[in-house]
């Protein structure tokens, strides 16, 4: 069973396959949860290659939208995409940090293979990005919004035509990104298909509610009217599974319960801000007459702690940080109103999926799998696990039932039974009855690590430390 090959028919990478964790058919045990409507998998009405709209969100957790069951938020536009397409409920970031995760989205390779092991690094010059790759195949590749590989909002990105944006955080930028994408979609007259990346920043603004908490999250609730309507604390807010020391150090202790709940209130309003800008772009696709010719993908680089395990931000392998939306839609081609809860998917898969629909072979070393057979509900073998990188020295491996985490510089490993304990409250790695499971996962991870082809980390580009004002904190990623 291949684990990480593309759908191009090339030989599978050497990879662990001693145990078969997953079903081998798209409609296997546990398959698709919800029904689906009209026919799909049909060619575009025009018979041409489809356009692509890639909506990249920043810090959007998989379960932070109403269409995925969150009662604390209202996201009618993202929900519209959920209804129109296939949403993957086991979707994982390759590295829950902005730049590394984005490097995978746009190349199909793990961050150690792109050279982007931390923020503000360029993709290694030997690795083509999606703009390059589709551009060579005749696509017009256009980018609008946050890039961060490096530079937040560069005016030039190799492989893409850039619609300049930026200036402020998500609250001031995203409406511009959405409006420029709307203008692009409606002004466009070219005959060639397009790849448009709309990279929206919300709800990343929430970072500052932790960093500047004294001003933004005062001790007393700043809006008394909200006292009875703040979201509840998550059930694992106080959970303290044994963890590598670096994860324990990230426990955030500046908030009272009420402050945590206000933090959540703000986060969900920022998700709603994102939703409005997503809606503006989706409306533009519809109004431009290209809805049935455009494959739309919405995903994110990573999630946010949201008080789970008393965390803010991202960086760690818990679900709130590493699970991200992956919603794929194209009316007539892709199953609608379908929620896939059984297939483990990854940010790696975006590149291969786009290439598959474009009729282009993916880059030779792309590791992702095309989601197309799953989107079209065709039988296919699927991978046994997904992996994620953490803090350069750590890796997470997720199999259908378990999550296993290991750091090279810490003896504490983590094993969670994700079916019995989805909130990750009990670390089972040293429980005798799970010794076999731990051993299996260690071997899987060893083999995965052996299959990687790291490149030298690319140079970090940013503010030279000597120029950073005294006392100023590094900006969040």
């Amino acid at each position: 069973m291949p684990n990480d090959d593309s759908s191009s028919g090339k030989p599978a990478r050497p990879g662990p396959s001693r145990r078969r964790f997953l079903q081998t058919g798209a409609l296997g045990a546990g398959g698709l949860m919800t029904g689906f409507g009209r026919g799909f998998g049909t060619p575009s009405p025009s018979g041409q290659r489809p356009n692509f709209l890639i909506l990249v969100c920043d810090q959007l957790g998989l379960d932070a939208i109403s269409g995925h069951g969150c009662a604390d938020v209202r996201t009618p536009n993202i929900d519209r995409l959920v209804r129109r397409g296939t949403t993957f409920l086991e979707s994982h970031s390759t590295n829950p940090v902005c730049s590394p995760a984005r490097s995978s989205l746009f190349t199909g390779r793990m961050p150690v293979e792109t050279g982007v092991i931390s923020n503000n690094r360029p993709i290694h010059p030997s690795v083509p990005n999606m703009g390059h790759w589709l551009g060579r195949a005749g696509y017009e590749s256009v980018y609008c919004g946050k890039w961060h590989l490096p530079g937040g909002y560069p005016t030039e990105i190799e492989g893409f035509t850039v619609l300049p944006s930026g200036g402020g955080q998500g609250d001031l930028v995203d409406s511009t990104v959405a409006r420029n994408c709307e203008a692009y979609l409606k002004n466009r007259t070219g005959a060639e298909p397009f790849l448009l990346v709309a990279s929206l920043l919300q709800p990343h603004d929430i970072c500052y509610w932790a960093i500047q908490h004294e001003a933004l999250v005062p001790e007393n609730l700043p809006f008394e009217q909200l006292a009875d309507s703040l979201p509840p604390l998550p059930p694992n807010h106080k959970a303290r599974p044994s963890a590598p020391e670096r994860l324990d150090r990230m426990i955030y202790e500046n908030f009272s319960d009420e402050q945590w709940r206000y933090y959540l209130y703000i986060y969900y309003r920022q998700v709603e801000m994102l939703d409005g800008d997503v809606g503006r772009i989706l409306d533009a696709v519809d109004d431009s007459g290209r809805a049935r010719d455009t494959v739309i993908v919405l995903t994110a680089d990573h999630g946010d702690g949201r008080g789970r395990h008393q965390h803010v931000q991202k960086w760690y392998p818990y679900e709130e940080s590493v699970k991200v939306p992956m919603i794929v839609s194209c009316p007539g081609r892709i199953a609608e109103n379908a929620a896939d809860a059984s297939h483990l998917v990854s940010g790696l898969d975006l590149m291969s999926t786009v290439c598959d629909y474009a009729g282009v072979a993916p880059p030779p070393d792309a590791r992702g799998r095309s989601l197309r057979p799953l989107c079209e509900q065709q039988p296919t073998e699927w991978r046994e696990f997904v992996a994620s990188e953490h803090h350069v020295v750590g890796r997470m491996l997720r199999t259908p039932q378990y999550k296993y985490v290991r750091y090279r510089d810490d003896p504490v490993e983590q094993l969670f039974d994700m079916q019995a304990d989805p909130w990750e409250t009990k670390n089972l790695y040293d429980a005798p009855r799970f010794a076999g499971v731990v051993a299996d996962h260690r071997k899987l991870l060893d083999a995965w690590e052996a299959s990687l082809a790291p490149v030298a980390p690319t140079p970090e580009v940013g503010i030279p430390p000597r120029k950073r004002p005294a006392g100023a904190k590094k900006r969040p990623s």
Binding site: T155, D171, L172, Y208, Q225, R475
Partner: protein
């Protein structure tokens, strides 16, 4: 009513903008929020140390039939010395939330030389018809349902200046954000009245020593309003005793008064 004057840095939302208001001199000129005029604000991001990013001009002109024309001139810096520009006209009622009747805007990104970046210019108009919002541009007409009580975010810059400067029953409405996204369940309410003083400026040094006369900070009575609702981080609007809108703060986004004309 406030009982004492406090540093602006002690008041929620003013605390985070206070560093950008060193030397701020409260306007003393008369101001009639029912009359024609123009106010200019600096556009700020408040992340980390914050920065001024551009200018927002809001003009009001009576049309003589119980409606007014509001014009919005938005000009914000974009990396690479580009600029994001948006110009709009909104015709609205003079009611509590400046209910819009119709509007038109043009948005574009311009390069350092002033040339519009290809593909970014877009013009769209909207009007309220039969309980719905009809939006039209060169490619399409789109209709969406709209509650009777509604306004656009930019019209609130006008509306808050005519709100009572005392407690009142909250006003409920739907927000049409950036002219096309309808966000429900908004509520505008009185927050508080507070007397504040902004930080005095540090004396600027000259080649011959400290400047002799730096502007003095003066106490200012402010009336605050809260806006809560879906699809946005809460806003706090601050007007002076004449109703003039001085500061609008929403999380990391702020508009700070700079000058008035007319």
């Amino acid at each position: 009513m406030p009982t004492s004057t406090i540093p602006a840095g002690d008041e929620f939302t003013l605390d985070i903008v206070a560093p950008h208001l060193e030397g701020f001199e409260p306007p003393v000129e008369p101001w009639d929020p029912q009359a024609d005029g123009r106010l200019t604000y600096g556009i700020y991001t408040l992340a980390m140390r914050g920065a001024r990013l551009g200018t927002l001009g809001m003009s009001r002109r009576s049309l003589g039939d119980g409606t007014v024309s509001l014009t919005v001139d938005y000009d914000k810096a974009v990396p690479g010395n580009h600029r994001q520009k948006m110009a709009a006209e909104i015709v609205c009622r003079t009611d509590a939330i400046s209910t819009p009747l119709r509007w038109q805007f043009t948005s574009k990104t311009v390069a350092p030389g002033g040339k519009t970046i290809a593909g970014t210019r877009w013009t769209k108009s909207g009007r309220v018809v039969d309980g719905g919002l009809e939006m039209t541009d060169a490619r399409s007409t789109r209709r969406v349902a709209l509650p009777e009580a509604h306004t656009v975010n930019w019209a609130l810059f006008d509306a808050v200046m005519r709100l009572p400067r005392r407690p009142f029953d909250p006003i409920h409405f739907a927000l049409v954000d950036h002219f096309d996204q309808v966000k429900p369940a908004h509520r505008l309410s009185y927050r508080k009245t507070v007397d504040v003083v902004f930080p005095s400026p540090a004396s600027p040094k000259t080649e011959t020593g400290p400047a002799s006369k730096a502007p003095r900070a003066r106490p200012l009575r402010l009336h605050g309003y809260d806006q809560l609702g879906h699809g946005m981080v809460p806003w706090v609007w601050w007007v002076d005793d004449r109703g003039r809108l001085l500061f609008a703060v929403s999380g990391l986004e702020a508009y700070l008064y700079e000058r008035a004309e007319g």
